[in-house]
């Protein structure tokens, strides 16, 4: 309720203040969940990214004007990764060549109101990292461009098949040229950390406005306790695992003998 009120206020504010300067439109984005807690029943999350486009003067563009497009990008924390490539050596498939990347996103999802290739050119896509072929993976080793490209596409393809990277063109719905909404799914096997939801307003191949909202994904309750214990109290954790297995094994034996 208060969020809706804030939204209304944000839309109305420029009009109330009687903004003189015909500035660029502004985005007022929000997400359905700012904190995602991983508990035992976590099977992934469905995130609603929505908001309003605030035009200067509080006036939505006339139906005759060229409509603006909205792109939303949900990005996970960057990781330093090593990508290995298998090769057939002496009849068996073994890891041979490898490539190091300093900052590959652990999760990347992009939704847009139209296919991203129709909205902006390759240079703009590269600047804002819009689309799977425009990710800044920052390879750590200087390899030949052809090899580099092979590894880049290998990494992106692998993560796409794991559901960690995806594009969903047409998933952004724009209502009355001022409100937009997009639904993005996050699979269960994403790492925890700080995610960002970026929203871009694009018209005539130019990014008119951009806004970022952080989203925190963390383990909670028992899951957090277990992960924390395994990391920081590894000896008691290991003892607990051993005790559990001995106890269950012994209990089953004792129960069955009585039965």
């Amino acid at each position: 309720m208060s969020r809706a009120a804030a939204l209304l206020l944000a839309i109305a504010a420029p009009a109330l203040l009687g903004q003189a300067e015909p500035a660029k439109p502004v985005l007022v984005p929000d997400v359905s969940q700012r904190d995602i807690e991983i508990v035992y029943s976590f099977t992934g999350a469905d995130l609603l990214l929505f908001g309003a486009i605030v035009y200067p003067g509080g006036q939505a563009p006339e139906p005759g004007d060229k409509p603006a497009d909205v792109v939303v990008v949900l990005k996970g924390p960057v990781q330093s990764v090593l990508v290995r490539e298998k090769e057939k050596v002496a009849g068996i498939w073994v890891n041979a060549d490898r490539m190091r990347y300093r900052s590959a996103p652990s999760f990347y999802a992009i939704a847009s109101s139209r296919p991203i290739g129709e909205l902006v050119d390759a240079r703009t896509r590269a600047i804002y990292e819009l689309g799977l072929d425009s990710l800044q993976l920052s390879p750590a080793s200087g390899a030949a461009p052809a090899i580099q490209a092979r590894f880049d596409s290998g990494l992106v393809d692998l993560r796409r098949r794991n559901g960690l990277y995806y594009e969903s063109p047409g998933a952004v719905e724009i209502t009355g040229r001022v409100l937009y909404r997009a639904r993005l799914g996050i699979p269960a096997r994403v790492p925890v950390g700080r995610y960002t939801a970026e929203t871009f307003l694009i018209r005539d191949g130019r990014v008119l406005a951009a806004a970022v909202r952080p989203i925190e994904i963390r383990k909670s309750g028992f899951e957090r306790f277990v992960a924390n214990a395994a990391e920081h109290y590894s000896v008691p954790y290991g003892l607990a695992a051993v005790a559990l297995s001995v106890l269950l094994g012994w209990a089953a034996g004792a129960l069955w003998r009585r039965a």
Binding site: L82, A230, W250
Partner: protein, 304 residues
């Protein structure tokens, strides 16, 4: 019923894991093996990261061997002295295994090495068991009693210095022999997440020449302690033991093991051995195919 695994970082169907544990437990109860050689590959096929699979499968083997050890103790079927030497070797071996694991992981060859070791071990032992059980079944059909092989230890074992008396096993041999044997199974436990019973039992019979009355109990005794120790090694080095995954596997396997042990009483031992041999060979063949076939994923990603 979906359940999130806090260390593996993914959501699994809990019933599938319990059923997997039950199936493996059933087989382990029937054949007297820990079943780790099945659990680890099956978990990997299900999508659990290999390190987490190997680390968590070890605790399932611990659970499966507990009731067996108690049962054999009641029957006086454990040579504690021999077991202690094997366990000592196994503990040193699992530390060496952890070092080897880290080394191979850094080289990116851990998965290949695990698969090759599986193929070689399972292939050779499965082949030997198949041969032996077919011979036994043929002999039984012909009505001839099997020629009981003379119980003796391998000449190599006799050549080792320093001799101890192992009364329960009826042996006077160097403790270095079981120590080395324990060492190798310890390496395998950490590397593959297996208890090593399928190597230990034949080695105790054919290499050490132990009396069959104490072989199974003593091997279970060693497996119990070494898998527990391997769980500790994994918990402190790779930090990949998923206690939720282990609990699910245990729930299924301890129940399965009890039922399997009762089923085993109704079957003939040589037929059980034949079935186990075939199963071991199938797993080995599947692993071999995995090595030779073009994999679905040419690329793999490792976090740094």
């Amino acid at each position: 019923m979906d359940l999130y695994l806090p260390i593996a970082n993914l959501s699994v169907n809990a019933l599938v894991i319990v059923a997997l544990g039950f199936g493996v437990g059933l087989l382990s109860g029937m054949f007297g093996v820990g079943g780790g050689f099945l659990t680890t590959p099956l978990l990997i096929v299900y999508g659990i990261p290999p390190t987490v699979a190997a680390a968590s499968a070890a605790s399932q083997v611990t659970g499966a061997s507990v009731s067996g050890v108690f049962a054999h103790f009641r029957r006086n079927g454990v040579d504690v002295q021999m077991g202690a030497v094997l366990v000592a070797g196994g503990m040193i071996g699992s530390l060496a295994g952890a070092w080897l694991f880290a080394f191979l992981q850094a080289r990116g060859q851990i998965d290949t090495v695990i698969a090759i070791v599986y193929v070689l071990l399972l292939g050779s032992i499965g082949g030997l068991m198949l041969y032996e059980s077919v011979q036994a079944i043929r002999a039984a059909r012909a009505g001839k009693p099997m020629r009981a092989g003379k119980r003796r230890h391998h000449p190599l074992v006799a050549a080792l210095p320093l001799r101890w008396r192992f009364y329960r096993s009826g042996l006077y041999i160097s403790p270095l022999a079981p120590l080395i044997l324990g060492f190798f199974t310890g390496v395998l436990t950490v590397l593959l997440g297996v208890g090593g019973g399928f190597i230990l039992v034949p080695a105790m019979i054919y290499l050490l020449g132990m009396g069959t009355a104490v072989v199974v109990g003593t091997s279970l005794f060693q497996i119990l302690f070494v898998t527990a120790w391997a769980t500790m090694v994994h918990a402190t080095t790779t930090k990949a033991v998923d206690i939720v995954l282990a609990a699910l596997l245990l729930l299924g396997s301890v129940a399965g093991a009890q039922i399997g042990a009762r089923l085993a009483l109704r079957a003939r031992p040589e037929q059980l051995r034949l079935a186990l041999a075939l199963m071991v060979l199938v797993v080995a063949f599947r692993m071999l195919l995995g090595l030779a076939w073009r994999p679905d994923e040419i690329y793999s990603v490792e976090l740094m």
